[in-house]
């Protein structure tokens, strides 16, 4: 997978570009803290993380980050409304038990919500199921069906529907393309027509706000 000049994964680099310097940021499912550390170092943000895996939590602590070991499905309810300028959820919504509830909380907690997710409508995924008759396994979705943490996969078009359900306004939308680069897209192109990023993008990165 190619990387941004920041050394970050492409979706994280796209998210990083959405964050204003000095912002208060909550990264939900912050992993080993690479994005948060980058944001703290280069943009002087006041960064906080939530992470469930012990090894990742230890990595964050060793980077000097403020991280709370916990679960997006159960812990977001404890965060007061509108205390963060931006809330980040990268490659995590598909692994939550209740994506709708999680998104509602994110929109409540943050002024802006930056979110990246894999696209189950990506043509290789569709082809894998259509031609192979098996649950698709791709570069970004590399798990066997019985082993995957991704219990709520969706297409980018499906996700746009959810944002409408949650009364979220789309501030920015980016497609994560085959070449490992991100490209700005018109979110309406996801739900109109058959050809477009919903078929060709491996994933999407969105910036939302409560409308």
């Amino acid at each position: 997978m190619s990387t941004h000049q920041s050394g970050l994964r492409p979706d994280l680099a796209a998210i990083a570009d959405m964050i204003r310097p000095g912002a208060r940021v909550l990264d939900v499912g912050c992993g080993d803290g690479a994005l948060l550390e980058y944001l703290v170092r280069t943009k002087g943000v006041d960064g906080r993380g939530i992470e469930i895996a012990q090894a990742n939590v230890n990595a964050c602590v060793a980077r000097g980050l403020a991280v709370v070991q916990g679960d997006a499905d159960t812990d977001l309810v404890d965060y007061p409304a509108q205390v963060f300028d931006a809330v980040i959820l990268s490659q995590t919504i598909q692994a939550t038990e209740k994506p709708r509830v999680v998104l509602d909380h994110l929109l409540r907690i943050g002024q802006r919500v930056a979110i990246s997710l894999p696209n189950f409508g990506y043509w290789k995924v569709r082809l894998g199921l259509l031609a192979g008759g098996r649950m698709p396994r791709t570069q970004t979705l590399g798990y066997a069906w019985w082993d995957t943490p991704n219990i709520h996969l969706c297409t980018l078009a499906d996700f746009v529907d959810l944002t409408r359900e949650c009364h979220a306004a789309m501030v920015e939308a980016h497609a994560l393309n085959d070449n490992g680069k991100t490209a700005r897209m018109n979110p309406d192109s996801l739900t109109r027509g058959v050809l477009g990023p919903n078929l060709f993008a491996q994933g999407g990165v969105f910036l939302l706000k409560k409308s």
């Binding site: 208060r24 939590v57 602590v61 060793a62 980077r63 403020a66 991280v67 070991q69 916990g70 007061p80």
Partner: protein, 393 residues
């Protein structure tokens, strides 16, 4: 007036007794002109604080870490305990190359006031009548313990501690440091603790205290005058407390319903089960090293601990002016100080935008996990302390 000395053990009434009066640790003494004012309105004078240090204080005095001990712990974090002859209680965490690396850091640990390992406590001689204080020793609080520690740290010439670290009652002290002296500590590591003692925890402590006070050898706290000690009561207190330190699962795994040195149940009341004889052993070995009145005083201090009490129950307000960074560590099977209680502290700190991390380590070892081999705890503490040192020294 304060003086530091290194005393040798006194002859006579056993190692526990002599460590209480004339400890083999460093000792700092404050005379009658420097009383320690207490929450109760009373004071302690003269005041004696016994402590150990490990590692070397650097030139700008920025590498000092205070370790706070738990209810029945002492200052011997990483050195042989003179009473038991066993290694320090946290040698897995403190020492050369350990998570709190004494090759880099200057580690201080002092016996709490009210204790029985050389700091002022109920078994000391009351200068007003030449007899042991017993229950005439003033009731102390966690804040009083921290006041004494602050005095020690001041006299060691350390204006700001790099970190304060402790588990259980030691964790309470770390929180009290953040509340009382926010400008004097850079990083706080409360482990397996809470910002207040719960009703259930007070209940267990009261069972222990009543067991001690019901022992006829307690003599209203004056047992030293009778040349005896309430060993049976103190042992029962320790047995009851010990159950709270371990998880149901760990007890079941370790002992199950196994019988002790016998093939069948005896149909008598001698210990049939392994768990019974294990608890008996815990009780018996405890009374050799710990003073019953100290147990009363220190459990009382924990019961009185409620950090938010002065702020109308608003824990966030306690930390409103805090620039320190926090790393709160809890254990999943700890039912004495459950993860939710630890997390409450993290939420309160988050609410005032303090730098706080919260860790919930999966372990089936219960509350005692913080004293045991828990590699994830070691990794958390090491990473946190090292990064704090990077920014603060």
């Amino acid at each position: 007036m304060a003086s530091i000395r290194h005393s040798s053990s006194a002859e006579g009434a056993g190692p526990a007794r002599s460590e209480a009066d004339t400890p083999s640790s460093h000792v700092m003494r404050f005379g009658l002109d420097r009383p320690l004012e207490l929450d109760s309105g009373q004071s302690i004078a003269p005041l004696q604080i016994a402590y150990q240090t490990y590692g070397t204080l650097n030139a700008d005095r920025s590498n000092a870490i205070l370790v706070c001990h738990a209810l029945t712990g002492d200052q011997h974090v990483a050195s042989v305990n003179p009473v038991t002859g066993k290694g320090g209680w946290w040698e897995t965490v403190v020492g050369p190359g350990k998570p709190i690396d004494t090759n880099r850091f200057f580690v201080i640990c002092s016996n709490v006031i009210g204790g029985c390992m050389g700091s002022s406590g109920p078994s000391d001689i009351d200068p007003s009548d030449g007899k042991p204080y017993g229950l005439n020793f003033p009731v102390v609080t966690i804040r009083d313990m921290v006041r004494a520690q602050k005095r020690l740290v001041d006299h060691l010439g350390i204006a700001r501690l790099l970190a304060v670290v402790g588990g259980s009652m030691g964790g309470m002290q770390t929180l009290q440091w953040a509340a009382s002296y926010p400008d004097c500590v850079g990083a706080i590591v409360p482990i397996a603790c809470a910002a207040r003692h719960s009703a259930q925890n007070i209940a267990f402590h009261e069972v222990g205290r009543q067991a001690i006070m019901a022992d006829p050898d307690w003599h209203g706290g004056e047992y030293q005058l009778f040349n005896t000690k309430p060993s049976k009561g103190l042992a029962v207190a320790r047995m009851a407390a010990h159950i709270t330190y371990v998880s149901e699962m760990a007890l079941q795994r370790k002992f199950g319903r196994n019988l002790q040195n016998r093939e069948a149940k005896s149909f008598q009341f001698s210990p049939d089960f392994q768990i019974e004889s294990y608890l008996h052993h815990q009780g018996a070995s405890f009374v050799d090293r710990f003073d019953a009145n100290s147990y009363l005083y220190i459990t009382r201090a924990m019961d009185y601990f409620d950090l938010a009490e002065e702020h109308g129950g608003q824990l966030s307000d306690v930390f409103r002016v805090n620039a320190a960074r926090f790393c709160i560590v809890s254990f999943s099977s700890d039912w004495l100080f459950p993860p939710a209680e630890n997390k409450r502290i993290a939420h309160a700190l988050n609410a005032v935008a303090a730098q706080v991390s919260f860790v919930e380590i999966k372990s089936d070892k219960g509350h005692d996990a913080f004293l045991l081999d828990e590699p994830e705890m070691f990794a958390t503490v090491r990473g946190f302390i090292n990064h704090a040192a990077l920014e603060l020294t």
